[in-house]
């Protein structure tokens, strides 16, 4: 790997925000293509962060500071990317269902999807089915990602999907679900298109759904 890209890769992996920013600026000044910086430096590093998290080698705060380094880097890179005309990997709308205030899992998935080049709109926590239907109608995302962390709020995933069905929007959007009590069986029972047990695998699932 180009040493300039390796510096960026290492900085994102280590969650070193100043290092990532300086590395990206240096690479831009040296004429490295912005899209190469994004793909080979930053997205590749976030993929490694996700892999380490999935394998239990990385902990939540390490993922958060890597995502922070990634986002600070993106702010520098974005103006240069737009002139390069890059396309997002897809658009995702994400939220935690009604009655549920848990946001860590949902935020990690959002950060990892952004890190993988998706455009993410975060609807927040305690999001009603009506609000989600409206957001799909007006926003037209490729994918809807739903989170629930409690056995008591998980049934609202089913209610939400039914509402999307009734609004005639079910074939407009792929739906993925996750959260502690959720299982692959439950996901298929309620008519979701996919289930992921963690943020890293959520990225792979989103790619799969985009190509389906």
């Amino acid at each position: 790997m180009d040493p300039k890209l390796a510096t960026i890769y290492e900085a994102v992996l280590e969650g070193d925000m100043p290092g990532a920013k300086a590395g990206i600026q240096a690479a831009l000044d040296a004429g490295v293509a912005p899209i190469t910086i994004l793909n080979d430096g930053m997205i590749a590093a976030m993929a490694e962060v996700g892999k380490r998290f999935e394998e239990g080698d990385y902990y939540v705060p390490e993922m958060l500071i890597s995502a922070r380094a990634m986002q600070a880097g993106l702010a520098i890179l974005k103006p240069h990317l737009q002139s390069g005309g890059d396309q997002p990997a897809g658009t995702v709308m994400i939220g935690t269902v009604k009655g549920d205030l848990h946001d860590i899992g949902k935020n990690l998935v959002a950060l990892m999807l952004e890190g993988a080049g998706f455009e993410v709109r975060d609807l927040g926590v305690d999001v009603s089915a009506d609000k989600i239907v409206e957001a799909i109608r007006t926003g037209g995302p490729d994918i809807l990602a739903l989170s629930a962390l409690l056995t008591t709020t998980m049934p609202y995933m089913k209610i939400t999907i039914e509402a999307i069905q009734q609004a005639g929007l079910r074939d407009k959007v792929k739906i993925m679900v996750g959260g502690a009590p959720v299982t692959a069986e439950y996901a298929s029972q309620i008519g979701a298109d996919g289930y992921s047990p963690d943020a890293s695998r959520a990225v792979r699932l989103a790619h799969t759904l985009m190509n389906a």
């Binding site: 902990y59 705060p61 409690l150 056995t151 008591t152 502690a180 009590p181 069986e185 309620i190």
Partner: protein
């Protein structure tokens, strides 16, 4: 302030002048495939095993959660309750957001149960408090309100005041509410632990209410979680926490809580501490 829970002739006391009360969290199908599958099929033998193991490990009260994906929660919670009642004398805590499931369990329970839980949201209190009143149950009052999680200790105190006042409107006494001061995840916000500890101190001095903390979440996403959980409980107890929903089968937590009872003046002549030590010695020798 003294809160009581009861099952038949067994009464549990919660308060600063009593040993810390442990509510065992393990009868819960979340992330536990075998338990979820067996409960979904109406087989509560694993739930019964969990009940016995937790009481043996030192649980005073048992939390029962029957939220299986796609399951008939009222039937499952009632079934789990009846099964657990067959094997233990510990009072129960019913863990559901579904009023029908709570009613189904409460109606077969002979004693004063604990409802887990209501929030400080108007719509929720209007449903849960009448149910508690009807069945003579105590209630865990979680300090989230219509706007979500109050960010500061002072806002959590105000939310607790509001919740207790509303409970009073339904004829429920302060001692029949256990305030949950909210343990948020420290791996996502490194100030979360401090804010919870400040809230506990404030609620204890200003309201004197008993409190119950879900104490296992705080360490989510970190290594060596049991040590973090045990330290958090010790800090919380020194500020006025009187009960927690946690895993009594974790030795680090159990031992820490026994030491806390001793240091808070709730272990006469240190007898429970010494007995627990001898039991550990004996277990180590047998192993």
């Amino acid at each position: 302030m003294e809160t009581t829970l009861a099952l038949n002739d067994r009464t549990i006391f919660i308060g600063p002048q009593h040993p810390f009360v442990i509510i065992g969290e393990r009868i819960n199908p979340t992330r536990r495939k075998k338990l979820a599958e067996s409960m979904a099929n109406g087989d509560f033998s694993l739930a019964q095993d969990e009940a016995c193991a937790q009481v043996k490990a030192g649980a005073h009260v048992l939390d029962v959660n029957a939220g299986v994906p796609g399951g008939d929660e009222p039937a499952l919670l009632r079934g789990a309750t009846l099964a657990v009642l067959e094997v233990t004398k510990a009072p129960l805590c019913f863990d559901s957001a579904d009023p029908d499931a709570l009613a189904a369990a409460l109606s077969v329970y002979p004693g004063k149960a604990l409802i887990n839980s209501t929030t400080a949201e108007g719509k929720m209190m209007d449903v849960i408090f009448p149910l508690a009143r009807q069945h003579g149950a105590a209630v865990i009052g979680v300090l989230t309100n219509d706007k979500g999680v109050p960010a500061t200790a002072l806002e959590r105190l105000r939310t607790a005041e509001h919740l207790l006042k509303r409970a009073g409107d339904f004829g429920i006494r302060v001692e029949d509410i256990l305030i949950d001061p909210l343990a948020l995840v420290v791996s996502a916000d490194d100030q979360a632990g401090r804010i919870t500890l400040e809230s506990i101190a404030l609620i204890h001095t200003e309201l004197g209410a008993n409190m119950c903390l879900g104490a296992s979440n705080v360490s989510f996403g970190l290594p060596d979680r049991k040590i973090v959980n045990a330290a958090f409980l010790a800090l919380a107890i020194s500020r006025g926490l009187t009960s927690a929903i946690t895993d009594p089968t974790a030795a680090e937590i159990q031992t820490t809580l026994q030491a806390c009872d001793l240091l808070m003046g709730n272990d006469s002549y240190s007898m429970r501490w010494i007995k627990a030590f001898r039991a550990r010695q004996k277990a180590a020798a047998a192993a």
